[in-house]
Amino acid sequence: MKQIALYGKGGIGKSTTSANLSAALADTGLDIMQIGCDPKHDSTRMLMHGTWIPTVLDLVREKGDERISADQVVFKGYRGIRCVEAGGPEPGVGCAGRGIIATFQLLERLDALHGDVIVYDVLGDVVCGGFAMPMREGYAQEIYLVTSGELMSLYAANNICKAIARLSRRVRSKCALGGVICNSANIAEENVLVEEFARRINSRLIAYVPRDRIVQVAEINRQTVIEYAPDSAQAGVYRALAAGVLEITNTDLTIPTPLEMDELESLALEFV
């Protein structure tokens, strides 16, 4: 079983990338599970054809965690992809990070974490220990950073590198960086910039996803690009990403070397 997590700045396209990656992986006949780890709970919606599935934490709130079964939190979407949304508290109260921890413990207890590939789609910033949960306890062993060439997006990706580097110092840590996915913001020479960023943090660019209107059109039609326009060029990009992820083996994983802020800024300056 391969367990991967996508991290990146909020709004950068993690959920779109995750859903299309899951769909492309499922197309190859693999058994896929996608877990949305964001209180906004919009990770799996395109895989579920627009349906907002009940979140694990909604159910915990309503029933208490003793009376929840796996079929109440795991929903089958496109090509049988098993979708889970962690959910979270109402914005502004409680502790969403603890919610992620509770969700993982519940899924573990329900024996729900299985398949050929599990894709964890995680909130933009690793704001606390709870949001590092997918990286801990041997859950996701490969982390992929989703970023554009914008400075603040690289900054967020760099922060996640700090979390990976920190966690990797723990004795039983199994998580490392699989690679960087560039989700284009239509910046000139963006792929070169992100490739250079990846190199400097001791990683590699594994896919360049261009900006394409088809992504928005598919979304309006409540589908992934893979499902809505399988013959499109963009679908091909996602299939290539899936192939790239499947090719990554343990020996390709790296412990990232995060940059200092001034290094990051001078890198961005080189490409202005």
Binding site: L57, E90, V93, G94, R98, G99
Partner: protein, 347 residues
Amino acid sequence: MNLNPSHLNLSRYEGCTITGALAVSAFIPDALTVVHGPAGCAHHNLSLLHATLLQQDRLFLPPVFSTGLREPDIIFGGEDALQRTIERALERKPRAVCVISTCIAETIGDDTDAVCGRDWGVPVIHLHSSGFLGGSFNEGFVNALKRIAGLVPPAETRDGGINIVGEKNLEFEVEENFEEVARLLGVLDLDVNVRFVRNETVDDISRFSAGCLNILREPALDPIGRHFQEAFAQPYLSGFPVGLQGTREFLRAVGEACGSAADEAIAAEESLQDELSAEFADLDGEAISLSPFGFQCPEFSLLSEVAEAIGLRIDPEGTEIPVPFGAPVGTAGIRRMLHQWRRFLHA
């Protein structure tokens, strides 16, 4: 001896803020306490209170409610649990509710002030008690006194007598110490107004501002003294009387603060103190050494002052005498201490 409120000194300056807050709120008989946190926070601190008092042969178990926070409350916020628990407490018709917040409630950002601030019909007072923000038993205690001062309305007159502030409700000789202070005030023809807070009702507490002088239990409560000085223009004395000379000076200071002559009272107290040397004449010429129990500070002039007055020698070879846990209060406190010394010397 614990006159120096340094952090190395004593458990009072360590420990949990909740215990400090509870050592205040539990002593308002017609108020109820809610501990906003996991059940263990209430249980453990109440047990500590109970066990401490039981050791002094005082059976006391005040009603304390817990919001009993569990993981879902942490994830989704604990304010609903707090609301339900306050409602449950109000069913018992208390005159006030003290809400003691805990580490976890502060960590997840529960707006305890907002819940307490609703119109409950009676005062619901938030005592901030998250230990991770720093602080100890003493900070919990002092903060609780400050917050409960919110129950006190301003007064128009200052004819209510003397307020006693911050008695150590958990100390062994709490009543004896109060009685000694009350006796000394009586010699000056002064009465006690409010014991803030020891077994006074919410109504009693509201008379606090009519007091003409606040006497603090110990100098560590100076922030509270200043607080009341600003709020109600009440002067304060920093501590209970300690030592032979200290007790006479206490009488003078109280007399000055209240505008009454103290010379006669001081003379009477001095002859009372002189009687001690006659009463303990059998100790004259004996040698004692002061044992600090490993953590109490033996450099305390009070003890050598008393030893000198009785004719005791302080000598490393002398009979080992434990340094008292708290400084004896007034002449009566010294007399009790001397009784104890006699038991050690004649053991």
